[in-house]
C-alpha cells in the first residue's frame, strides 16, 4: 500500500478519548434542584383530578363567572363541574359543552352571550359571519330574522340539507339543541343572536320555545323546504 492510498487516514488525528476533568459542581447542584422540583411537582399534583384535562376550560370558567350568583344555581353549577371532572368522557368535551346546566327548569336568567360563545361560535364564529362555504352567517340571515318560530325550530330540532342564506348556498348539518339546553337558555341565545351584529329582530321568550315543543314534539331535523312549507318563506 502506498502513501497516496492512506492519505485521508494518514492526516487525521488519533481516535478520540476522554479527559479526566471532574464534572463541574453546577451539574450536581442542578441535578439536586431538579430532583427536589420533581418531587415537589408530584406533591403539588396530589388531590388534583386524576383523569384527563389540563384545566384548559376557559369557556366554562367565563360562563360561570358571568352567571349571576344565586344560591340554588351556584350549587347546581358546582355539582355539574365536579361531575365533569370525575367523568373522563364529559371532561374531554368540557370546552365545547361548557358547564351549561342541563336542567330545563333553571331558575336564573341564562346569559345568551355566554351560551353563544360556548355552543355556537365554533361554527358561526364570534362575529356571527360564519365561514364562507361551510357555515352560514347569522348576521343578516333571513332565517334568523324571520318570525320567531323559524329560528326556534332550527335550533331546537336541527337542520339538514341544502339551504340558501343571505344569497349563498350551504349544505351541512346543524345539530339539535332541544335536549341540551333548557327552553330559557334557547330563548336567551336566540334573543342574543337576533340582537347582535346589526340584527334587530324581536327577543324570543322561553314560552315560545315551550310552545314549539308542545306543537311538534320530538321530531327529526328540519330541511329548508319543510321550514318554508310550515312557516312560509322567510
Amino acid at each position: 500500500m502506498n502513501q497516496h492510498d492512506h492519505r485521508a487516514q494518514n492526516r487525521e488525528a488519533a481516535e478520540p478519548e476522554e479527559g479526566n476533568r471532574a464534572a463541574p459542581k453546577i451539574v450536581f447542584v442542578w441535578i439536586a434542584i431538579l430532583i427536589v422540583w420533581g418531587v415537589g411537582y408530584y406533591a403539588w399534583q396530589i388531590g388534583k383530578p386524576l383523569l384527563g384535562g389540563d384545566s384548559r376550560t376557559p369557556v366554562a370558567t367565563a360562563y360561570q363567572e358571568s352567571k349571576p350568583v344565586k344560591s340554588s344555581s351556584a350549587e347546581n353549577a358546582v355539582e355539574s363541574t365536579d361531575a365533569e371532572i370525575s367523568d373522563p368522557e364529559v371532561s374531554n368535551t368540557a370546552s365545547s359543552q361548557g358547564s351549561v346546566p342541563n336542567s330545563r327548569t333553571a331558575s336564573v336568567e341564562p346569559n345568551g352571550a355566554a351560551i353563544f360563545s360556548a355552543q355556537c361560535s365554533a361554527c358561526h364564529q364570534a362575529t356571527g359571519l360564519g365561514i364562507p362555504g361551510a357555515f352560514p352567517p347569522l348576521a343578516g340571515s333571513e332565517w334568523m330574522l324571520a318570525d320567531a318560530a323559524v329560528p326556534v325550530a332550527i335550533v331546537h330540532d336541527g337542520l339538514q340539507g341544502k339551504i340558501e342564506v343571505a344569497g349563498n348556498q350551504f349544505q351541512g348539518i346543524m345539530p339539535r339543541f332541544g335536549g341540551q339546553l333548557s327552553d330559557a337558555e334557547l330563548a336567551a341565545v336566540l334573543s342574543y343572536a337576533r340582537s347582535q351584529w346589526g340584527n334587530d329582530a324581536s327577543a324570543i321568550s322561553s314560552g315560545a320555545v315551550t310552545e314549539h315543543r308542545e306543537r311538534f314534539g320530538d321530531r327529526k331535523e328540519w330541511s329548508a323546504e319543510e321550514l318554508t312549507k310550515v312557516f312560509g318563506k322567510p
Binding site: 487516514q9 476522554e18 420533581g38 364564529q125
Partner: protein
C-alpha cells in the same frame, strides 16, 4: 390519589432517580475511573496533539516511519475498507430519500398557504403528502444515514474490521424495499393512521428484518473488539441500535393498543424515536467528530457517564407530554412532564462536554466543513432540547400545543441538530472510503449556506407565528379565520426556507454523486472551506 397510581408513579420516578444517584456515588468513589494510563492507551503513540483537517501531508512525523504510527494508520485503513460497501450502500440510499423527502415536505408546505396547489390529485393531498415527508426523512434519510455512519464508526471505535458487512448490505436492500412499499402505501391512502407509525404494520416487518440484519455485523464486530475501554461514542451508537428495534416493534404491534392507550403508545414511540434513536446517534457522532477534528480529548469522562445514563434512565417516559390535556390519566402526564424537565441533565452535561472541548478552537470552524456542521448540530441539540423541556410544562404547553411552534421545534431537532451532524459526518467519511477528495469547495460552501439560511428562516418564522397563534387560539372572541390569516406570512416564509433547504440537498446530492464517480481534478489536499494554502501562510 389511589394507592396503585401513586405506587406506579413513585416507582418509575424513584427507579430513575436512584439509578442516577448511584452513578454519581460511583463516580465520586472512583469506581469508573479508567485512569490516565488507560486513557492514553487509546491514543496511539505519537499521535496526540495533532489535528485532522487542515492538511498536513508534509508533516514529517506522519509518514508512517514510526512503526506504532504506521500500525495505527493501518488499523484505520483496515477498519474503513472493511465497512466500505455497507456504509456506501446505506449513505447513498439515505441521500436519495433526503432529496425525495424534501420535495414531499416542500409540497406540504406550499399547500399550507396555497390550498389549491396540486389539489386535483388525491395522491398529493395534504393528508398523504405530509406523512410521506415525515416517513421519508425519518426512516429514509435520518435512520439510514445514521446507520451508515454507525457502521463506519463502530469498526474504528473497536479497532477491528467490520465482520459480516454483507448482512448490512442486504439489510439496506430490505430497508429500501420497505420504504418504497411504505411510502407507496401512504400515497395511495393505506395508512395506519398514527403519526410516525403510518406505514402499514405488514410493511413494518421489513424494517425489523432490515434493521436486524444490521445488528448482526455490529454485534459480531463488538464481540471482536480490540480495545479494553469503550469510548463514549460506542455507548451511544450501540444503545441506539438496541433501543430502536425494541421501540419500533412494540409500537407497531397490531391490534394491541386500542383507543387512548394507542395514543399513549403512539407518542411514547414518536418521542422515543427522537430521544432514544436519533439523539444518541447524533450525540455519538458529535462525540467522535469534535475531538477527532480538533485532535484533543473530550474534556470529561465523568460528564460523558452522567450524560449517557441520565438519557437512558429518564428519556423513555418523556413522550406523553404530547397529549397533555388528552383523555389519559393525569398522573401519567405529570410523570412525563417531570421526566421531560429532567432531560436538561443529559443536555447540559453533553453541552459542557462538547462545547468545553471546542473552547479555544472556534477558529477551526472557518476551515473544516465537518467541524462546522457537527458543532452547529451539537449547539442546536442543546437549544432544541432545552426548548423541548420548556414546552413540556403545562403553562407553556397550553400556548404552544397545536401550533406551528411545535413544528419549528421539531425541525430544530431533526434538522438543525441531527441532519447537520449527519452532513458533517458524511463530509468526513466519504474521502476515507473513496480515496478521493470532495471535488468542489464551492459546492460545500453553497450547501452549507443554503441549508443554514433555510433552517433559520424556517425556525424563526414558525416559532414567532406559532407563539402568536397559540396566544390567539386561547382568545375565544377571536375568529378562527383571523388567526389563520395572521399566520400566512410565516407559512410563506416556511416555503422559502424549505425551498432553500431542498436546493441545498440537491447541491449535496449532486456533489455526493460526483464524489462517487470521482469527478473533479483529484485533489491531494482535503477540501476545506478555504484553500489549504492559506493554512500555511497563517
Amino acid at each position: 390519589m389511589t394507592p396503585t397510581i401513586a405506587i406506579l408513579l413513585i416507582i418509575t420516578f424513584v427507579l430513575s432517580t436512584v439509578g442516577l444517584l448511584l452513578l454519581i456515588w460511583s463516580i465520586a468513589n472512583n469506581q469508573f475511573s479508567h485512569g490516565q494510563e488507560a486513557a492514553r492507551s487509546i491514543f496511539s503513540p505519537g499521535e496526540e496533539g495533532h489535528s485532522e483537517d487542515p492538511a498536513r501531508p508534509a508533516d514529517p512525523s506522519f509518514t508512517g516511519e514510526n512503526t506504532a504510527q504506521a500500525a495505527a494508520i493501518n488499523a484505520r485503513w483496515t477498519a474503513d475498507q472493511s465497512s466500505r460497501t455497507a456504509v456506501l450502500t446505506w449513505l447513498s440510499s439515505s441521500i436519495f430519500w433526503l432529496v425525495l423527502g424534501s420535495f414531499f415536505g416542500l409540497v406540504s408546505s406550499i399547500k399550507m398557504h396555497l390550498p389549491e396547489f396540486l389539489a386535483a390529485s388525491e395522491f398529493l393531498t395534504f393528508g398523504r403528502i405530509r406523512p410521506a415527508h415525515l416517513n421519508a426523512v425519518t426512516y429514509g434519510w435520518a435512520s439510514m444515514a445514521g446507520i451508515g455512519v454507525a457502521l463506519f464508526l463502530i469498526p474504528r471505535l473497536f479497532k477491528t474490521s467490520l465482520a459480516g458487512g454483507k448482512y448490512a448490505v442486504f439489510g439496506a436492500v430490505i430497508w429500501n424495499i420497505g420504504l418504497i412499499l411504505g411510502l407507496t402505501a401512504i400515497i395511495i391512502g393505506l395508512s395506519d393512521g398514527k403519526e410516525w407509525l403510518e406505514f402499514p404494520w405488514q410493511i413494518d416487518i421489513l424494517f425489523v428484518v432490515g434493521g436486524g440484519l444490521c445488528a448482526i455485523p455490529l454485534l459480531l464486530t463488538a464481540a471482536n473488539r480490540q480495545v479494553e475501554h469503550l469510548y463514549v461514542s460506542s455507548w451511544y451508537l450501540m444503545a441506539a441500535l438496541v433501543w430502536f428495534p425494541i421501540l419500533f416493534l412494540i409500537a407497531n404491534l397490531p391490534f394491541t393498543f386500542p383507543g387512548a392507550s394507542g395514543a399513549t403508545v403512539n407518542w411514547w414511540f414518536a418521542h422515543n424515536v427522537l430521544g432514544l434513536w436519533v439523539t444518541p446517534i447524533g450525540i455519538g457522532i458529535a462525540y467522535y467528530m469534535i475531538p477527532k477534528i480538533l485532535g484533543r480529548p473530550i474534556i470529561s469522562y465523568q460528564l460523558s457517564l452522567i450524560g449517557f445514563w441520565s438519557l437512558a434512565l429518564f428519556y423513555s417516559q418523556v413522550g406523553i407530554h404530547h397529549i397533555i390535556g388528552g383523555p389519559i390519566p393525569t398522573w401519567l402526564v405529570t410523570l412525563s412532564i417531570v421526566h421531560s424537565v429532567m432531560m436538561s441533565i443529559p443536555v447540559i452535561t453533553v453541552a459542557i462536554n462538547h462545547h468545553g472541548t471546542m473552547m479555544g478552537n472556534f477558529g477551526r470552524l472557518k476551515d473544516s466543513p465537518t467541524l462546522r456542521f457537527v458543532w452547529i448540530g451539537a449547539l442546536m441539540y442543546t437549544v432544541a432540547s432545552l426548548q423541548g423541556s420548556m414546552e413540556a410544562l403545562r403553562s407553556v404547553n397550553v400556548i404552544t400545543h397545536f401550533t406551528h411552534y411545535t413544528i419549528a421545534h421539531a425541525h430544530l431537532g431533526m434538522y438543525a441538530f441531527l441532519s447537520f451532524i449527519l452532513f458533517g459526518a458524511i463530509y468526513f467519511i466519504m474521502p476515507r472510503l473513496t480515496n478521493w477528495e470532495w471535488p468542489w469547495r464551492g459546492l460545500i460552501s453553497l450547501h452549507f449556506w443554503l441549508v443554514s439560511v433555510g433552517i433559520v428562516i424556517y425556525v424563526v418564522s414558525l416559532s414567532i407565528a406559532g407563539w402568536k397563534q397559540g396566544v390567539a387560539l386561547l382568545d375565544a372572541a377571536m375568529p378562527f379565520m383571523d388567526i389563520v390569516r395572521m399566520t400566512m406570512p410565516a407559512l410563506q416564509a416556511r416555503t422559502v426556507g424549505g425551498a432553500l433547504m431542498t436546493l441545498g440537498h440537491l447541491v449535496f446530492a449532486f456533489h455526493f454523486v460526483a464524489m462517487l464517480m470521482r469527478r473533479g481534478i483529484g485533489n491531494q489536499q482535503p477540501t476545506l472551506f478555504r484553500p489549504a494554502i492559506k493554512e500555511f501562510t497563517q
